[in-house]
């Protein structure tokens, strides 16, 4: 029955011309610390069911997961404390994960900080606070390679992480000053900046359409 609902929703979404409409799938948002509520709000605005995930059993209802921005040391610690490390890795074997800011750090295969134990879901190295401290936070107009409207995305970078040592299999979807700030492996998606803090839902919509079907 669950399969059928999933299938129906997928087909329906495709037929609807990739518009934002309700579907049965539930997107989990890891709610240990950070900007999780903004993601839930944006998903709801797109007509998508979303729930916060704080414990492993809450993952079983979900068909996709967002790891939001926050403090990566805090999030990494709490992922381990509450036995979410292996369950998220198993989840990610077959289902999509989007990581934003601290979430990008968690998706990386390597981090320049021993305090973080990344989930190693995407082959690149994350550099914490690459763009500097809070005072150096900024917004930048970036071009989204997948969006043909040529409309810039007004992207907030807050103590944002950088990316380096990208494996060739990584697809770069947006750059800032020649640095990859939005990247994908086909299943997972990682961003240095915070799309959920804008009123522009293009990135969430793109993720739902391309990764979550």
């Amino acid at each position: 029955m669950k399969c059928l609902i999933f299938l129906t929703a997928s087909v329906w979404l495709t037929e609807a011309g990739k518009r934002s409409e309700p579907m049965e799938n539930i997107v989990g948002v890891l709610a240990l610390q950070g900007a999780y509520q903004k993601h839930i709000d944006m998903l709801h605005a797109l007509g998508v069911s979303a729930q916060s995930v704080r414990q492993p059993h809450q993952l079983t209802d979900c068909s996709a997961l967002i790891i939001p921005g926050g403090e990566s040391t805090t999030i990494s610690l709490l992922i381990q404390e509450y036995g979410l490390y292996e369950p998220i890795k198993t989840f990610a074997d077959s289902l999509p994960v989007m990581g934003v800011c601290a979430g990008l750090i968690m998706l990386a295969s390597e981090v320049d900080d021993v305090r973080i134990k990344p989930l190693e879901l995407m082959p690149f190295k994350a550099i914490r606070n690459h763009y500097g401290r809070q005072l150096h936070s900024f917004t930048a107009d970036i071009k989204l390679n997948f969006d043909h409207s040529n409309k810039f995305f007004h992207a907030p970078f807050i103590r944002a992480p950088g990316t380096t040592q990208l494996s060739p299999e990584i697809e770069v979807l947006a750059t800032h000053n020649d640095k990859a700030v939005m990247l994908s492996t086909g299943r997972h998606l990682a961003l240095s900046f915070h799309p959920e803090l804008t009123n522009d839902s293009r990135i969430h919509q793109y993720w739902l359409n391309r990764f979550c079907q």
């Binding site: 709610a31 240990l32 610390q33 950070g34 900007a35 999780y36 509520q37 704080r54 414990q55 921005g69 926050g70 403090e71 040391t73 805090t74 610690l77 709490l78 404390e81 800011c101 601290a102 900080d113 305090r115 914490r128 606070n129 401290r133 809070q134 005072l135 807050i158 103590r159």
Partner: protein, 279 residues
């Protein structure tokens, strides 16, 4: 990105490390925690930049520091030092009895205390990026933080029930900017994150203010005035995340050593009430 997290007062690099290892999402660097400021008396000022710098060098999480109410020169120094947030705080001795800092002149974000909606909206009008309840710092008593959070929530709730024609009178009564009153009436919440501070001493205290609507908690004296700072810091971080899960709250509350002693409000003379500072 402090939401859903615990921000801890620390007075040296060692405490900052304990806070970071426990999962704090930021630390507040200050020379004396509020309980000691209260005990010592005298004028409390911005901390020595050298001490703040040491803490910045020790941890990778954001570092906040306090300046006195209205003391924009202290704020300029803290911004130049590149602290991540400035708390224009009633815990320090106020420098200006009429005016708070015009925070829009600064690039570094400010957090400010409030005891009610009017005060919160005045601070936001001046450019505060975050609001926190004042509570009663250094008391180890949660009652004032609860009073302030409830006052804020009740007033916001009331505004959502009013007609547009009533909002100018509300702005007049609250002494708050009209456009911000309209925002609250429409959305039922502040336009900036709303945190809680002042008197949080246990995991249950953190869970209480989170359930009352605080998006993050500040823990001042509660950790390093207790007998087991490491365990208590970790427990408060977990309680802040799992604030609505009594099973986990029970687990993290078990077996902690004695918390800070705390003060009954009636034992604090009016002249020593920190929450009354600011306007």
């Amino acid at each position: 990105m402090l939401k859903g997290g615990a921000i801890m007062d620390v007075t040296n690099a060692e405490q900052a490390k304990i806070a970071e290892d426990a999962g704090a999402c930021a630390v507040m660097a200050l020379e004396r925690i509020p309980a000691d400021i209260r005990r010592d008396g005298g004028v409390a000022r911005m901390s020595d930049p050298e001490m703040i710098q040491n803490i910045k060098n020790t941890v990778s999480i954001p570092v906040m520091a306090k300046c006195r109410i209205g003391h924009f020169a202290e704020a300029q120094i803290l911004q130049t030092l590149e602290v991540d947030f400035i708390d224009e705080s009633e815990v320090l001795t106020p420098a200006d009895e009429a005016n708070h800092i015009y925070k829009r002149d600064f690039k570094v974000p400010f957090v400010c205390g409030a005891t009610n909606l009017g005060e919160a909206l005045r601070r936001i009008g001046e450019g505060a990026a975050m609001i926190r309840t004042k509570g009663e710092a250094g008391s180890g008593n949660i009652v004032e933080a609860v009073r302030h959070m409830r006052a804020l929530q009740n007033e916001m709730q009331r505004l959502t029930t009013l007609g547009r024609e009533q909002l100018m009178a509300v702005a007049r009564d609250l002494g708050a900017p009209y456009d911000l009153v309209c925002y609250v009436a429409e959305h039922g919440r502040l336009p900036v994150p709303n945190f809680s501070a002042g008197g949080i001493a246990t995991p249950a205290d953190a869970a209480l203010v989170r359930q009352l609507g605080a998006e993050a908690v500040f823990v001042g004296s509660g950790i390093f005035k207790s007998e087991d700072p490491e365990a208590r810091a970790t427990a408060i971080v977990k309680a802040t995340t799992h604030y609505d899960n009594p099973d986990i709250l029970l687990e993290v509350s078990r077996g902690l050593q004695a918390g800070m002693k705390g003060l009954e409000m009636s034992d604090i003379p009016d002249s020593e009430r920190l929450a009354d500072r600011g306007w």
